[in-house]
């Protein structure tokens, strides 16, 4: 194998497309980060939720003729409600228990359930949406790239921005962080811990919905396609720093870049190994993630 330095336009092309692709992991990771950050739960079902949303988008498109990007207006509120319900129905009790394995396993059970229900309802075959803009390209910075991926990037950016603002600036957002740290103390402040956990879950699932729109417009999918998103999102999460919501998006983009460079310079067969290797290295040597500033005194 030879290591020719490619011309700058190819580098730019690689970087741009890698970043756009990585934003997909980013969206998935932000939702995961929120749930993980508040409930310390590795929500392995996030990928399955994304695919569920994708099927839902498809049903809206072919059933009612609603444009996939327009369907965000439906998917997000529905995601919020579903997230709220999932928390209240499945995780409320487990959140109070000390054993974190329980919520992990509920997430696994939920993943099995959703994947296979989707198989029963929609069959196991690959499904896809074809719109007027499917597979159409646009020019950014003189580089040709995908329209739907660019849209996905915007969705990721907007979603993350909103969540970060919510957590940093609003009192409820702070309450979400507080309750995740010490539930008993939070209740003494008048914070209902279950309400804030439910909020975190609702937002997490709504973000899965947004990711579902991005996925449905870009990829064909099947009921089991989500798991890889969960794994990649976890990698993005660690790169960005656990609990660091904005970092999760950045981590996703970085992961996309790594994959693109490895695919181009080494071989596609090694993208996963190298991505996971970077993941381990970051966990070990910079567990707070790559994008968190070291703590400074006021």
């Amino acid at each position: 194998m030879t290591f020719n330095i490619p011309p700058p336009d190819i580098l730019l092309q690689l970087s741009l497309n890698g970043a756009l692709g990585g934003a997909m992991y980013g969206v998935a990771a932000v939702g995961l980060s929120l749930i993980f950050g508040t409930m310390r739960l590795i929500f392995l079902a996030q990928g399955a939720m994304i695919i569920l949303a994708a099927y839902f988008v498809r049903a809206l498109f072919y059933g009612l003729g609603i444009d996939p990007f327009l369907s965000l207006l439906i998917i997000i509120p529905v995601g919020l409600v579903v997230g709220w319900l999932i928390y209240q129905g499945l995780f409320r009790k487990a959140a109070a228990a000390e054993d974190r394995n329980i919520s992990l396993l509920i997430a696994v059970g939920l993943m099995f359930l959703i994947q296979n229900l989707m198989t029963v309802v929609w069959g196991g075959n690959t499904a896809a949406i074809v719109t007027s803009y499917t597979a159409s390209g646009i020019e950014i910075l003189g580089v040709r790239t995908s329209f739907t991926r660019s849209m996905g990037f915007l969705i990721a950016l907007a979603g993350t921005g909103l969540v970060v603002l919510f957590l940093r600036k609003t009192l409820v957002g702070k309450a979400v962080r507080a309750a995740s740290e010490d539930m008993e103390a939070a209740t003494l402040m008048g914070i209902s811990p279950h309400r804030v956990n439910a909020i975190a879950f609702a937002i997490g699932i709504a973000l899965a919905g947004a990711a579902g729109v991005a996925v449905a417009t870009t990829f064909p999918f099947n009921p089991f396609a989500g798991f890889i998103f969960s794994l990649k999102a976890l990698v993005a999460l660690a790169l960005g720093g656990i609990g660091n919501v904005a970092g999760a998006l950045a981590g996703g983009i970085l992961l996309g870049l790594i994959e693109a460079y490895v695919q181009y310079f080494i071989s596609g067969g090694w993208t996963n190994a190298i991505a996971y290797g970077v993941f381990l290295a970051v966990l070990m040597f910079k567990p707070e993630g790559l994008f968190s500033r070291p703590y400074k005194k006021a």
């Binding site: 310390r40 054993d99 396993l105 696994v108 029963v120 660690a238 656990i242 040597f285």
Partner: protein, 326 residues
């Protein structure tokens, strides 16, 4: 007090009776050729895996999400030694009968896994705690899998390694070895937990800082538990190879080998000695029954069962019905 003592004795008595009954199963007419026999064999494998996970996570407090990698390492080690052309050529050609459960091969399977656990555990456990360790082990599992896919001829690449199946004639030895390993693992862990090592393990689980301030080498204890868990998983993998004859990255590095034992342990009772075994019996029975009764959508039933078990039996069977755990 008296009640507690009785409880303990009763538990031990029941356990011995069950083991004896299981050992006698092969004597029943037709048992060896029955489906129940292979069902039990699988239960044994899962129980051993669950026991291994329980050692590091239940007793040690370190949630490992990478035990499937150790299972796979044990399975591959056995398959490569037995059928490949490495080291001293094919074991099977050299000793046509002893490849089944050859103790040297099995222990090697466990050792390879344990050494991998030490190599990865030293950096991981000295740097990572709790959830971060869990994530790290998950990443480790994926890396090992990719490495085996890209391992060329040595690992058989994405296809894997096949051992000669033609000499198989009965499941009886598998059953007996599986049963023996399950009982042996449980006994070994029981001994271990009563030794000074068990004391240290629990101390580290309860409070690392206090443990180190009291003279416990925390890293060593944790790495040892991780390696012990990997050893057990490696042996289970070796046992599986003797049954399946074909190991491939998708089959022996499947996440199921980690998730199911984890779930079985939690359902049975984390940090209890008999919980993992009980959990393996109950959950595997539920899954298998669902597969036979409703083949078209049994995973839905399995998913539901997991959720319901966690919602209504969060402390595990041993603690919910067996009184206070040991």
């Amino acid at each position: 007090m008296l009640k507690q003592a009785w409880n303990k004795q009763a538990k031990a008595g029941i356990a011995i009776a069950v083991v004896l009954a299981l050992a006698l199963v092969p004597l029943l007419p037709g048992a060896i050729d029955s489906y129940a026999f292979s069902f039990l064999f699988f239960v044994f494998i899962y129980a051993i895996m669950a026991q291994g996970w329980n050692l590091v996570a239940g007793f040690g407090g370190q949630i490992s999400l990478g035990n499937h990698a150790f299972f796979g390492l044990g399975a591959y080690t056995t398959a490569i030694l037995w059928s490949g052309n490495y080291l001293w050529g094919s074991l099977y050609d050299a000793y046509p009968r002893i490849y089944y459960f050859d103790p040297v091969t099995m222990v090697l399977g466990g050792l390879v896994a344990a050494v991998a656990a030490i190599i990865i555990g030293l950096p991981l456990l000295s740097k990572l705690r709790g959830d971060y360790f869990a994530l790290g082990t998950l990443g480790f599992g994926e890396i090992v899998k990719v490495m085996f896919i890209n391992g060329g001829d040595f690992t058989g690449g994405a296809f894997g390694v096949v051992a000669p199946a033609s000499t198989f004639d009965t499941l009886l030895p598998h059953y007996l070895v599986g049963l023996g390993l399950m009982v042996g693992t449980a006994l070994a862990i029981r001994l271990l937990m009563r030794s000074r090592y068990g004391l240290a393990l629990i101390a580290v689980r309860d409070d690392e800082m206090a443990a180190s301030a009291n003279g416990i080498d925390v890293l060593r204890v944790k790495v040892a538990a991780f390696a012990g868990s990997a050893f057990i998983a490696g042996i289970a993998g070796s046992l599986y190879t003797c049954y399946i004859f074909h190991v491939g990255p998708d089959s022996v590095f499947a996440l199921d080998w980690m998730l199911l034992p984890l779930m079985m342990t939690v359902v049975g009772g984390t940090g209890t000695l008999l919980g993992p075994i009980l959990g393996a019996f109950v959950m595997y029975a539920v899954f298998d029954l669902a597969r036979i009764v409703v083949p078209d959508y049994h995973p839905v039933i399995s998913g539901l069962t997991i959720i319901l078990a966690m919602l209504f039996l969060p402390k595990g069977l041993m603690r919910s019905f067996g009184g206070k755990a040991a």
